[in-house]
C-alpha cells in the first residue's frame, strides 16, 4: 500500500541527487589541477516497494551513499618509484656540473695560451722551462719559471678550495634535505591521523588523501619511498562487511618506508637526524671535517650507503662521498698484530691520516670499529715491500685479536665523487712534485732523462742547501700526504732568491749548462709518470672522466624525466578533470533537476485536482 505523497518523496530524491551531483561537479571544476583526483557520486536505488499482489515492485527513488575518487594506486606507486630515480640523477648532474665549472678546462682556450684550466697552467710552466733551457745563464728566465710555477700553485689551490667548498655545500644540502624529509614525514603522519578519524564515520576523506599523495610525490623525489596501506580489520578484509554503511568499520593503516626502513606508521614517525662526524672519523683522508652521517633519532642506523637508496639524497651522497672504491681493505693475520701495534703490509695507498677509525674483522664475523693513532708509513728497504704500522686503542672484551682476519680503513662509495677527484689531484701534485724535486717516479725509481736531486749542484747556494722547487707541506703535519693538494706550493725561499734554483749538475761547467732543466723537461715527456701516461694525459683524463660521468647523469636525468612525465600523464588520464566532461555531467544533473521539478509540478497539479477540485459541486 503506497503512502500518501509517495510521488513527492520519489521526486524529492531526484532533486537531492541532482543537487549532490552538481555539488561534486562544482567541486571538480573548482579544484582541478595537479594532484587532484576527480570525484564522482556513488548512488543507488532506494529499496523498492513490493506490492505483494504480484504486479511488481515500485522503485522509490535513488540516494547518494558516497563520494568516490578516481585514482589508480598502481600508477601512483609507479610514479613514485621512477621519480626517486629521477631525483638521484638530477642531484648528481647538478653537483657534477658545479664541479666541472670549477675545473673550467675549455674556457678561454681559443688562443692556446689563453686558457684558465690546469692543463693550460702546466703547459705555460713547461714553456717557461723551455725558455730557460735556451737561456740558462739569464736570471730573468728563472724568475719567469718561478712565476709560472706560482700561477700553477694558484690553479691547484683554486681547484682544491672549489672542491672543498662544494663538499661543504653538498653537506649542508644533505642537512637541509633531511629536514625537509622530516617535515614531510610529520605532515604525512598528521594527515594519517586526520584521515583515520574522518573515515571512522564511514566517509572517504578524498581531499585529505589527495593532499597526502601530493606530499608523497614530493618525498619520492628526495628519497625512495614504498607505501603500504593495509586493512587491519581482518573481518573487513575478508569481506564480511560489504554494505556501504559499514565502511566505518574499516581500519586502514598507512605506512611509509624510506629506503626500506620504517619512517611513518599511522600517526607515528621515526624522525631522521644528521650527526657530524668527529675529527678522525672521516671516510676519506681528504674529507672536510664534520660531514654529516644520517641516522634515526634514538640512534637507529639509517642505511645511507645502501646501494638501494635513491632520490636526491642518494645523488648528493654520491657526489659528497664518492671515492670510487679506494679505501683500504686488507687481509691481515694475528701475526701482524703485537699487542697494540698493527703492521699492514703492501698497502696500495699511502695517504691515510695518521689517526682515524679502523674496522677489524674476526674470522667468526665479529666486527668492531675502533680508533687508531700514530700511523707511520714505512717505505721499506730495497727488496722488501712498503708497509705501515698503527696503534689501536684498547679492545672491547668480546673481541679476540687472535682471530684477526681483515681490516678496513675508510669505506667504499662506488661513484666518482668529490673525494675521488680530490684524490686524483693529490696524486697529481705528489707525483709531479716528487718528479720535479727528486727526479723519481711514483715507484721511487729514477725518471729517464731527469737529473736526480743528489746530482744537482748547489755550491752557489749559501749553506749548500738544495731548495726544492715545490713543497707539499712539511713532515710536521702528519697528514701532509692526504692533504698534499691543499698545501702544494712553490718554495717561498726560491721565490725570494730565484738564483738559488739549481739548474745544472756542475756549476763550473759553464753558465749555459742546462742539463737539470732538460731533466725537468724530460719529466713532462715521460710517458710512465702516471698510469694514464704523460702529465697532460693524466690531466685530460681527470676532466674526461668527469665529463663522461656528467654526460651520463644528464642523459639519465633526461630519460627519467621523460619516463616520469609519461607516467604522470597516465595518472592524469585516470584522475584528471576534463572540463568538457564536467560540463556534460553538469547538464545531465541540470536536466534531472529540471525534469524532477517539472514532475513535482505535475504531481502537485494532480493532488491539487484530487484534493481541491474533486467532488466540488
Amino acid at each position: 500500500m503506497r503512502s500518501a505523497f509517495f510521488e513527492f518523496n520519489v521526486a524529492r530524491t531526484a532533486l537531492f541527487l541532482a543537487r549532490g551531483g552538481l555539488d561534486v561537479v562544482n567541486h571538480n571544476i573548482a579544484s582541478q589541477g595537479p594532484g587532484f583526483s576527480r570525484q564522482f557520486i556513488e548512488h543507488r536505488a532506494l529499496p523498492a516497494l513490493n506490492l505483494r499482489d504480484g504486479r511488481g515492485m515500485y522503485g522509490t527513488g535513488a540516494q547518494i551513499y558516497g563520494v568516490g575518487q578516481h585514482r589508480n594506486v598502481f600508477l601512483d606507486h609507479k610514479f613514485w618509484n621512477e621519480r626517486s630515480t629521477l631525483g638521484r640523477f638530477q642531484a648528481q648532474a647538478q653537483q657534477l656540473r658545479v664541479l666541472e665549472m670549477g675545473l673550467n678546462e675549455l674556457r678561454g682556450a681559443d688562443s692556446p695560451t689563453g686558457g684558465v684550466g690546469t692543463t693550460t697552467g702546466f703547459g705555460l710552466f713547461f714553456n717557461s722551462l723551455q725558455n730557460l733551457s735556451t737561456n740558462a745563464g739569464d736570471s730573468v728566465y728563472r724568475v719567469n719559471v718561478l712565476q709560472t710555477a706560482s700561477t700553477l700553485q694558484s690553479f691547484v689551490h683554486n681547484m682544491a678550495q672549489t672542491m672543498r667548498r662544494q663538499q661543504i655545500d653538498a653537506n649542508t644540502e644533505v642537512h637541509i634535505m633531511v629536514g625537509r624529509i622530516n617535515g614531510l614525514g610529520n605532515q604525512i603522519a598528521s594527515l594519517n591521523e586526520q584521515i583515520a578519524r574522518t573515515e571512522l564515520t564511514g566517509s572517504r576523506a578524498n581531499d585529505l588523501r589527495d593532499s597526502r599523495a601530493r606530499l608523497i610525490d614530493e618525498l619520492s623525489l628526495l628519497v625512495n619511498v614504498s607505501i603500504i596501506e593495509t586493512e587491519r580489520n581482518e573481518d573487513f578484509a575478508a569481506g564480511m562487511f560489504p554494505e556501504p554503511e559499514q565502511r566505518g568499520l574499516s581500519k586502514l593503516h598507512f605506512r611509509v618506508m624510506i629506503n626500506g626502513q620504517d619512517f611513518v606508521s599511522g600517526g607515528n614517525i621515526n624522525l631522521l637526524e644528521t650527526v657530524a662526524r668527529p675529527a678522525g672519523a672521516e671516510r676519506n683522508p681528504t674529507d672536510v671535517v664534520g660531514l654529516f652521517d644520517i641516522q634515526f633519532r634514538g640512534g637507529r642506523q639509517f642505511d645511507m650507503y645502501s646501494p638501494q637508496l635513491r632520490g636526491q639524497l642518494r645523488g648528493l651522497l654520491d657526489v659528497r662521498d664518492g671515492n670510487n672504491g679506494t679505501h683500504i681493505s686488507m687481509a691481515v693475520t694475528a701475526g701482524d698484530f703485537n699487542g697494540t701495534v698493527l703492521t699492514i703490509p703492501a698497502p696500495h695507498r699511502d695517504d691515510l691520516n695518521d689517526q682515524g677509525r679502523i674496522t677489524l674483522f674476526n674470522y667468526d664475523d665479529r666486527v668492531i670499529e675502533i680508533d687508531y693513532t700514530n700511523l707511520v708509513w714505512n717505505p721499506g728497504t730495497p727488496g722488501n715491500q712498503p708497509f705501515f704500522t698503527l696503534t689501536v686503542d684498547t679492545f672491547p672484551p668480546n673481541f679476540d685479536p687472535a682471530n684477526l682476519n681483515r681490516i678496513e680503513i675508510g669505506r667504499t662509495t662506488n661513484f666518482k665523487g668529490i673525494p675521488h677527484y680530490m684524490n686524483q689531484f693529490n696524486t697529481l701534485v705528489r707525483t709531479f712534485a716528487d718528479a720535479m724535486n727528486y727526479g723519481l717516479n711514483r715507484n721511487g725509481q729514477p725518471i729517464p732523462g731527469a737529473v736526480p736531486a743528489g746530482n744537482r749542484d748547489v755550491s752557489h747556494v749559501p749553506g749548500n742547501v738544495l731548495h726544492n722547487m715545490f713543497v707539499l707541506g712539511d713532515d710536521s703535519n702528519p697528514n701532509w700526504r692526504s692533504q698534499a693538494f691543499l698545501n702544494f706550493g712553490v718554495n717561498e725561499i726560491l721565490m725570494q732568491n730565484p738564483d738559488w734554483l739549481a739548474v745544472s749538475s756542475n756549476n763550473n761547467t759553464g753558465e749555459s749548462f742546462n742539463d737539470v732543466i732538460l731533466g725537468f723537461l724530460a719529466v713532462n715527456n715521460y710517458s710512465g709518470l702516471f698510469a694514464q701516461g704523460r702529465l697532460q694525459d693524466f690531466l685530460i683524463s681527470i676532466s674526461g672522466e668527469l665529463g663522461v660521468d656528467l654526460r651520463q647523469a644528464l642523459r639519465f636525468e633526461e630519460n627519467y624525466n621523460d619516463i616520469v612525465q609519461s607516467v604522470d600523464i597516465q595518472r592524469i588520464s585516470v584522475m584528471g578533470v576534463d572540463t568538457s566532461e564536467e560540463i556534460v555531467n553538469m547538464m545531465r544533473f541540470q536536466h534531472i533537476y529540471q525534469a524532477a521539478a517539472q514532475l513535482i509540478n505535475v504531481i502537485d497539479g494532480i493532488y491539487d485536482l484530487t484534493i481541491n477540485r474533486l467532488g466540488n459541486f
Binding site: L106, A109, T113, Q130, E511, L521, D578, I583
Partner: protein, 502 residues
Amino acid sequence: MRVTNQMMSNRMMLNLTRNMNRMDNLANQLASGKRITFPSDDPILAARALKFRTSLRETQQYMRNVGQGLSWMGATDAAFIGVTEVVTNMRNNFNSAINADKQLQERQAIINTISQMKAQLGSFMNTPYAGRYVFSGFRTNHPPIFEVDQPDLVFAVEQHFRFADMETTNVIQRDSSNPLNAVQLREGVRIIKLAYAGNIPEIEVSLAGWTGNLVPFNAANAHIADLTAYDPDPDDIHFIEATGELILGSNVANLLQSNEMNVRFVREGFTAGELNPKIYFNSFDISESTSTSADALDVFGYTAQDLIDYNIAHFHNDIGSITDQRLEFEFSFNTRIPINTLARNVVTDKLHADLRELIRFVNSMEGMLSNPQALEQAIRNAEPNWTDEQVQAALTQQIAAENSQINTAMQNRFNSMLARIDTHYQQISRQEADHGSRMQRLDMIRLRLEEDQLNFRELISDNEDADLAEVATFMAMARAAYEASLRVGASVLQLTLADFIR
C-alpha cells in the same frame, strides 16, 4: 583512452621545453662558434680538444726554441765564413812568402799581415750572440781568446800532443862568442809548441815508455843564445820557456809515433790575444789557491773536496768527448740537437801556436843578423893582417852567408807552415760541415713544426668549431617547430564545451 585538458597541456609544455632546450643549445653554438662549452657536452671531443691544444702549445714553444737555435747558429755561420776566408788568405800569403826572391823585409811585411789576421781569427772566435760567446761551450760568459790582459790569473793547464803535432824544421841561433860564425842554422829540429810562450815556472811531461830527462832552459834568451837548447840527447826533451817549445830527442820522437804525450804546466799571467785556458783546456784556476803543496802541479791529483778546501776552480774540458760542452736545446718530443761549435775545434790551440811561433820566428830574424860594423871589427880583430879589400870581401861573404842561412831557415819554415795550414784548414772545414748539417737539420725541423702548427690548428678547428651554416639551418628548423607547437597548443587548449553551449 581518456584524455583530459590537463594531459594535453602537460604534453604541450613538455614538447615546448624540449624545443626550447634545443634552440638554446643551437643559439649557444652559434654565439660561441664552438660545438661544446663544457667537457660534458661531448666528453670524447673535449678530451681530443684538450690534447690538440696541448700539442699546439708545445709546437709553438718548440718553434720559439728553433728560432733561438737558428739565430745562434747563424752567428756561428758568419764566423765560419770569416775564418775560412782569413785562413785562405793566410795560405796565399805563405805561398808568396816561400818565393826565394823575397827579402827579409818583405817577409816581415807579410808577417805583419799574418799577425793582423791572427788577431782577426781571435775576434771571430769571440763572436757574441745576445751577450754570450757562441764558441765557448757552456761557459758563455767567458771569451775563448782573452780580450784584455789578465796579469793576476795563474792556471795549471794540461795539453795533449800527437806525432802529427810535431814540426821538424830549422832554427836559427846566434853565437855571440863567435862573431865570425855567429849565425847558426840548425836543421831537423823536432819541435812541439805549447799554447803559451813564457811565464811557465813549472812543467811536467809524461809519455809512455820515455825514460829520459826533461831539461828546462829558463833563460830569457835561451832560444837565441844557448846553442845546446835545440840539441837534445836522443832520449831527452828540452823545454825552452821563452818560446814555449819542447824539443824532442830522436828516440822520444819515435815513442811519440805510438803514444800520446801529456804535458802539464803552470802559467802565470795572460795577455790579450792568448787562449783562455778555461775554454780550451782541462785546467785549474790556482790564482787564489791556499794549498800548501810545494808542487803546484799536484792539483791534477786533488779530489773535489780538496779543490773546494783550497779554493781552486776546475775547468773541465774533456777533449775528444762527444758530449762535452754540447749546448743542447729541445726542438721536438725527445729531440735534442747541439747548436754550438767549440772554439778549440775551429781555431785549435795547435793552429794558434803555429801562427804565434812563426810570427815570433820571423820577427826575431832581424836580431840574428850581425851588425856590419861589429862584424867588420871582429874580422879585423881575428885577422889583423888582412887588407881592407880582404876584410870587405870576407865581410860581404859573411853577410851573404848569414842572409842565406836565414833565408833557408825562413823558406823552410814557411814551407812547413804551408803543409800545416792545410791540415788546420781541413779541420775547420770538417767543423763547418758538421755545423752546416746540423743547421740544415734544424731548418728541416722548423719547416716541419710550421706544418705541424697548421695541422693542429686545422684539427682543433675541425674538432670543435661549429659549422655555422649547419647550425643556422638546424636553428631555423627548431624555430619553425617551436612556432608550430605554440600555435597548435594555443588553438587546442582554448576550446571547451562551454564555448558551444548557448
